[in-house]
């Protein structure tokens, strides 16, 4: 047999070498990511759990206390109320910010002239820090000299005094948070809307389909996974929200706006109870996971 016409048979070790090189390449990509994940997520989570299992004096760890902080947390009579406020605040802001973000994204997607300018205007709330947002609304809604009071007084409705009642204060911080965060939803939806093939819209127009028909049958299937992503992102944001509540009500009045996050803040910086705050933070983490898993269930598995 000629060596020119017959290819030499591959030895069994060559596929193994190629396979090892591929594995090495994969590890080179994943090791840095895993390292960062360990440092910014796993380590702090472990440290939080460790802190929760110790007595603390200000920021110093003391004796091992086991599950005492968790028992204290779960037996706290205020916990159900704070959980309820957290859910009401988070879900309340979500049901406002999500459709608002989607609606503005749909409008912006169809604008042809001055698109960038209009988009920038809609983004303005998101560009402000949470502290600035809280301060601005605190001034705007000030019952003595705020513009809102000037308006409501002029039309005979009296002063705007939204932060003096626990329920109204909760509604107020929910609305403020939704107003600040809807541009994030808008941005994410704008990105998703770009993935819709223009031919589908064209054919729908040719077939005489209306706006609602187009939204339900063309837009919604394509952005369904984006909706899930937006829900997850926003829920995580709201469950962890502290600053806007801190600046406007600090959890009051009568703890009517004290969410679990505010409880963590108060335990850390008011009570200096780091152990209790750590236990609450872990509960908050669990709440976040549950809400996220629920949202993920609605994710479309197959692609269009």
């Amino acid at each position: 047999m000629s060596s020119l016409t017959t290819a030499p048979a591959l030895s069994p070790s060559v596929p193994a070498v190629r396979s090892r090189r591929r594995d090495l390449g994969v590890w080179l990509y994943t090791i840095p990511v895993c390292a960062i994940f360990l440092v910014v997520f796993v380590a702090p989570l472990a440290w939080t759990a460790w802190t929760a299992m110790h007595e603390t004096t200000y920021y110093q760890l003391g004796a091992f206390s086991g599950a005492d902080s968790f028992v204290s947390l779960l037996s706290d009579a205020d916990l159900p109320k704070q959980l309820g406020i957290t859910l009401a605040f988070s879900l309340g802001a979500l049901v406002i910010a999500l459709p608002a973000g989607l609606l503005t994204a749909l409008v912006l997607n169809d604008i042809k002239r001055f698109k960038r300018t209009v988009r920038s205007l809609f983004l303005l709330p998101w560009l402000m820090s949470q502290a600035t947002v809280g301060t601005i609304w605190l001034w705007f809604l000030n019952p003595n000299f705020g513009p809102a009071t000037a308006f409501t007084t002029s039309i005979g409705l009296g002063k705007t005094d939204v932060f003096s009642d626990p329920v109204i204060a909760l509604v107020a911080v929910t609305l403020i948070t939704a107003w600040w965060s809807y541009p994030q939803a808008m941005l994410l939806f704008l990105g998703a809307l770009q993935t819709i093939p223009s031919e589908l819209r064209e054919s729908l127009r040719v077939d005489g389909g209306g706006i609602w028909h187009g939204f339900v049958n063309v837009t919604l299937p394509y952005i369904r996974n984006a909706i899930v992503s937006v829900v997850i992102v926003l829920l995580m944001l709201y469950v962890q929200m502290v600053t806007i509540i801190l600046v406007t009500t600090r959890g009051g009045p009568l703890e009517g706006t004290t969410t679990l996050s505010m409880r963590v803040f108060n335990q850390t910086f008011l009570d200096f109870d780091l152990s209790g705050a750590s236990a609450t933070a872990l509960l908050l983490f669990a709440v976040n996971i549950v809400l996220t898993l629920v949202a993920i269930r609605f994710r479309r598995k197959e692609s269009l």
Partner: protein
């Protein structure tokens, strides 16, 4: 082999250099060693107001007199200071010079923020008020006063003239006068039960009222213990104001700044605020006057002495230089400069400075006399923040849930001890 020997020598030399750099003793301002002092203050010296200018000039003058000491000021808001100092203590990064409000000295001392002041601090003996309450749990002096304040009754003379009401001299008279002002469309008594600003206004009133009643705030174990029959005079005053409709409709959410704004713009008839607000409010609204606190039932009008203090950070390795700076800032020259910004000097020697012979110093001198004669320092425990929050929370319940005066005290005390 030669390569190895040279390599070992190089490593040893490098190690020696590094170790020398690590273990060289830190300069402490003694002799001519260069020292950098870190100092947190909420006053921004780059601003163009009297207090900022005075602070900037004081630091420059100190550095000129001590060319080897550089003062590095970091502007930190007061609220941030309260939360960051304990963290800094845990991390071993407390600034060399610590500025803190009197009621919170015990709390930050318990958090390990301070180191005891040097022996030289005991040489100063002309403080206008006693300083023996500015100690840590072991009884070491950890802070000295930097400026003095106490509570005063602020009132709008124009509103009083309009209503034909005399300046009240007792708490009951104040309730009646506030009720009349309220009926005329003003806010009768400016207060606030919000804890957004660490319950500043209600805790200040409480502090002064307890001093007037000679009612200890905490027991010997440091637990809040003010829910007594004696203290009910204070909570009854709050309840009476509620029943008279003398509060603002938004009192539950009002803060210190709400009341100062209200006095400044003439919508609030009465308020109890710290004397540090006299100059700023009167500069905006000259109709606002101030006088002694109303008298308690036993005739006492002696409120609490408070204000900002200086101490040395527990992490500081420049204690000598830090004390030099504190001694300068509480000394006559710096205090006279500070007084131009409306702050009241804390040492008798300061008042020999020329500034206090000028007409501009009239208000500061009047406040000095008032602080000296009508205030006494309270003793605080390491839970002032919780007490303050408890007072605000109880106030919210007083207004929204209509609780009684005795319930108010119990709610506030339970919250502080919870």
């Amino acid at each position: 082999m030669r390569k190895t020997q040279w390599g070992v020598l190089a490593v040893a030399t490098a190690a020696a250099l590094v170790l020398t750099g690590c273990t060289a003793p830190a300069g402490d301002g003694g002799q001519d060693e260069d020292v950098t002092l870190t100092y947190w203050d909420f006053i921004d010296p780059s601003q163009d107001n009297a207090r900022s200018v005075a602070l900037k000039e004081n630091i420059e003058a100190f550095e000129t007199a001590n060319p080897n000491i550089d003062v590095q000021l970091e502007v930190v808001s007061y609220g941030d200071m309260i939360s960051r100092l304990p963290q800094a203590a845990a991390a071993g990064q407390v600034p060399d010079v610590v500025k803190m409000y009197t009621p919170l000295v015990a709390q930050v001392a318990a958090a390990g923020v301070y180191q005891p002041l040097p022996e030289a601090a005991t040489q100063i003996d002309d403080w206008l008020r006693p300083i023996d309450q500015l100690v840590d749990a072991e009884g070491n002096q950890v802070a000295v006063p930097y400026e003095y304040r106490t509570c005063a009754l602020f009132y709008n003379q124009k509103i009083l003239d309009e209503l034909g009401v005399a300046v009240p001299t007792t708490w009951d008279e104040l309730v009646d006068a506030a009720a009349k002002a309220s009926a005329a469309g003003y806010v009768g008594f400016g207060s606030g039960f919000s804890d957004v600003d660490n319950s500043a206004i209600i805790s200040e009133l409480f502090d002064c009222f307890m001093a007037e009643l000679d009612q200890p705030i905490v027991d010997k174990d440091g637990k809040a213990a003010f829910a007594t029959a004696k203290a009910e005079e204070y909570s009854q005053f709050l309840a009476d104001l509620r029943d008279a409709g003398a509060y603002s409709s938004s009192v539950v959410a009002d803060q210190y700044s709400t009341v100062t704004d209200g006095l400044s713009n003439g919508t609030v008839a009465f308020g109890v605020l710290g004397t540090h607000r006299v100059v700023t409010i009167q500069s905006v609204n000259p109709d606002v006057q101030w006088t002694n606190l109303p008298a308690a039932s036993d005739g006492s009008q002696t409120g609490a002495t408070f204000g900002f203090t200086f101490g040395i950070g527990s992490s500081s390795t420049h204690a000598e230089a830090a004390w030099k700076f504190i001694e300068y800032m509480t000394g006559p020259e710096a205090q006279a400069r500070m007084a131009t910004g409306g702050e009241v000097p804390v040492r008798a020697a300061s008042y020999d400075e020329d500034y206090f012979s000028t007409p501009e110093a009239e208000t500061v001198l009047a406040i000095r006399d008032y602080v000296e004669n009508y205030s006494t320092p309270n003793t605080y425990a390491a839970n002032w923040l919780k007490i303050a929050t408890g007072l605000a929370s109880a106030g919210q319940q007083l207004v929204l849930n209509d609780i009684s005066a005795s319930e108010y005290l119990q709610v506030a005390q339970d919250a502080a001890n919870g």
